[in-house]
Amino acid sequence: MRETLTPRERFGLLVIDEKPDRCNIIPLVTSHAAEIARMKLKKYYTNGEAMARAQIAAIEEYGHDAISIFSEVGIIAEAMGSDFDYPDDDLPVIKRPALTKKNIEDIKIPVPKRDKRLPVYLEAIGYAYQSLGDKVPILAYVPAPFTTGMMLSDPKTFLIQTIRDPDHIKKIMEKSLQAAIEFCYDIIDAGALPIIVDPLASSSVVSPKAYKNFALPYERALIDFLHRYDLDIILHICGNTEPILDLLLETGADLVSLDQVDLSLAIEKLSKRMRIIGNFDTSKIAFSSPEEIMEEVKNMVKRGIKSKKGYIASTGCEVPIKTPPENVRTFINAAKEVGWYWE
């Protein structure tokens, strides 16, 4: 079937509850884009123009429906004072969390245009927007307060404090929320739609109770802020989210990106109020054969497009960096074969 719409037009229809020509296809091609552009990872995550060029190269290679400005979830924590190592061929690795050096009261809200690698994202957005912004939506991934909070702390201490010192955790959350709001503010001004990512709030990491008490209220607060802009907000939580599916409705997110969840169950529980994004297994996209990917993606998309408020065919999490391009192409081709709404 012939594509009638550009990715931007397709996404625009989705967010106003209209069926586009076919479903949006947005595998989470993030740092994998550096591979497509044959670029050192360090260059990708430290240079905004390079990040944008890699993303544009990926769009040209695969023909998917959005640019993803993202490298890793420590970006805000880094700007708030956590130290990272920056390997040439791998993503930044946390070395020393900020709260092991100073108190929460002494941590400053970063200035996104100035501090650490936040300007890299903003520059990448600006470059991508100028290059392809009329045709392709630009999505910028923003770590949610819970994830940032954990990247500010020693993770073990942080998790223990959720039980022993919840007030302290809430202080961390408040500050992380403010930082995320400031970052989103500049992201919007640069032309991208913020996606809230909260991988460390998944049930693979914390209990549903901890999610409800410490992650959800701040996801909701951030989403409320973004709703002031009348933007449609994506919440991405990778890992297992089946135990918190009902709670996701309380976040107010307009689109929810899921990973290790039964897609039919997610559609049943969420699709009256949320558009569903997901959720192809990322280990399969990295390691399965193209034939297996073709069949499984088709099955997934056939179920996904039945979702009432709309569906985006995607991977459950980021496409692994070293995924064979053939596999990503197969994912997209499979979704393009069966994901049609228009006759």
Binding site: D17, G191, R228, D230, L231
Partner: protein, 467 residues
């Protein structure tokens, strides 16, 4: 409540800063179609940039709350039309006549008129060739007027929903648009065609015709009025058939609503153009003028916005405040520009727009309320500059020049628009007493330094002439 700051033009980033001061309560207060769940439209300009309106990054806007409402509402139109369909309203495309048929359509409950050809601004706001290139592929030649974007929009079905009915005007309408409409018909749409007569000026050769004149002094052959009334009757009957409603009292009410807006806009123009300092920017004033056509698909809310704009302008005029330099040179603008940036640019270079001839004056005059409604609509339409002689079209501009209110005239032509090509030279000749600059509006994102220099030279010429 958000309190307006000292009037000035600000950019998108500055608007985002101001927007942070606006409370959630206020954001939720303004809704289209009065819908509490999805009717929000009060967004900063950055929101629309995120969704692809790239030119907003380069434009400057008025900093009043009224202007925020205005822009939020205008940019929300596409979504509004889709939502209208989703909640069971009927979306009626009214094309080419510019201002009259929507008054009939709005007489029918839950029927929303809109002008698909107004999408000609979209390629410029988006700095994008997507619609224009698609129109070319669909058979509208590249040199055709930018209204060819409508052809691509009908094909793509992503900018407005499939209309429930389409009324399309032909005859003494814009001919490029008429051709485009015929191509749209070829896509499988079924427009109901309305013919518009050419308004002859001279009585002497057509002795068989009785002539009348409109309340605003335009002569026309009486039988054209009768003819237009029959065309409007055709529109009415189609609407009756479609909705199963037939109540002429609604038409009288619709005319009253249209007049309420038209009076407001007339007052806004008068206040703005006659004030010592320009109280509102030319770009916003152009958007306001075009709002008379159909209220951007929610006539009541738009009228409410325009009331707020009127209050803002009145207050500024009373306080002697303006958005442009006090020595800005008063000019007239002839033919609307599809590129909004040009209006910013001309003001930045030192001009102030004090008169316009945007070929929609039929939508600016009041409709008579004390005669038969279809006759009143016909008589208001017969004021249209698009359907008459060039001399009639520029008469008011010439008057402004004679009275010294207008020191220069800028004509923005559309490449390929035959109407522009034939008329511009004539207009230039008729306006020989002041500097006249005629420019071809380039394709999106195409304003060059050379074009800027030409406009700067035009401004300098006016300045020298004034000295």
């Amino acid at each position: 409540m958000f309190e307006d700051l000292k009037p000035k033009k600000i950019n998108l980033t500055e608007w985002s800063h101001q927007f942070r001061k606006i409370s959630d309560q206020i954001i939720k207060k303004y809704k289209y179609y009065g819908n509490q769940d999805w009717g929000i439209y009060l967004s900063p300009l950055a929101t629309f940039m995120v969704y692809g309106a790239r030119q907003l990054k380069r434009l400057k806007f008025d900093n009043s709350f009224a202007a925020l409402r205005l822009w939020g509402f205008v940019f929300n139109e596409s979504e509004r039309l889709f939502r209208a369909k989703q909640v069971g309203k009927k979306v009626i495309a009214t094309m080419g006549d510019l201002g009259t048929i929507p008054v009939i359509v709005m007489s029918f409950p839950d029927c929303i008129p809109f002008y698909p050809e107004c999408i000609w601004w979209t390629p410029f706001f988006n700095e994008s060739f997507i619609l224009l290139d698609m129109a070319t592929k669909l058979g509208a030649p590249e040199p055709a007027c930018f209204s060819r974007a409508a052809l691509a929009a009908f094909y793509k079905k992503a900018y407005f929903p499939k209309p429930d009915l389409i009324f399309a005007s032909t005859g003494a309408s814009c001919d490029d648009y008429s051709c485009i409409m015929q191509l749209i018909e070829g896509l499988g749409y079924n427009p109901i065609w309305i013919e518009i007569p050419f308004r002859r000026k001279s009585r002497s050769y057509f002795v068989a015709d009785d002539y009348e004149h409109t309340k605003w002094g335009i002569d026309y052959p009486k039988r054209f009025e009768t003819y237009l009334m029959s065309e409007y009757e055709k529109v009415w009957q189609n609407m009756v058939e479609f909705t199963d409603i037939n109540n002429r009292n609604y038409l009288a009410k619709s005319i009253k609503n249209a007049n309420r807006l038209r009076k407001l806009v007339e007052n806004i123009k008068k206040l703005s153009y006659e004030a010592e300092l320009a109280p509102f920017p030319g770009l916003e004033l152009m958007v306001i003028e075009f709002g008379n056509l159909y209220g951007y698909a929610d006539f009541d809310e738009w009228t409410d916005i325009i009331e707020m704009v009127y209050e803002t302008i009145s207050e500024r005029v009373q306080k002697g405040e303006g958005v442009l330099n006090p020595d800005a040179l008063p000019i007239a603008w002839v033919t609307p520009s599809p590129d909004p940036y040009l209006l910013n640019l001309v003001e930045d270079l030192g001009c102030r727009i004090v008169a316009t001839e945007y070929v929609i004056n039929q939508a600016l005059v009041e409709i008579e309320e004390d005669i038969e409604p279809f006759q009143a609509l016909a008589r208001s339409f017969l004021n249209a500059s698009l359907i008459g002689s060039t001399e009639q079209r520029v008469r008011r501009i010439i008057e402004g020049v004679e009275h010294g209110r207008i020191l220069g005239v800028l004509i923005t032509n559309m490449l390929g628009c035959s109407h522009c090509a034939m008329e511009t030279r004539l207009i230039q000749q008729m306006l020989s007493k002041v500097p006249v600059l005629s420019i071809d509006v380039p394709a999106p994102f195409g304003i060059t330094e050379q074009l800027k220099s030409r406009i700067a030279a035009f401004v300098e010429t006016i300045r020298c002439a004034r000295r």
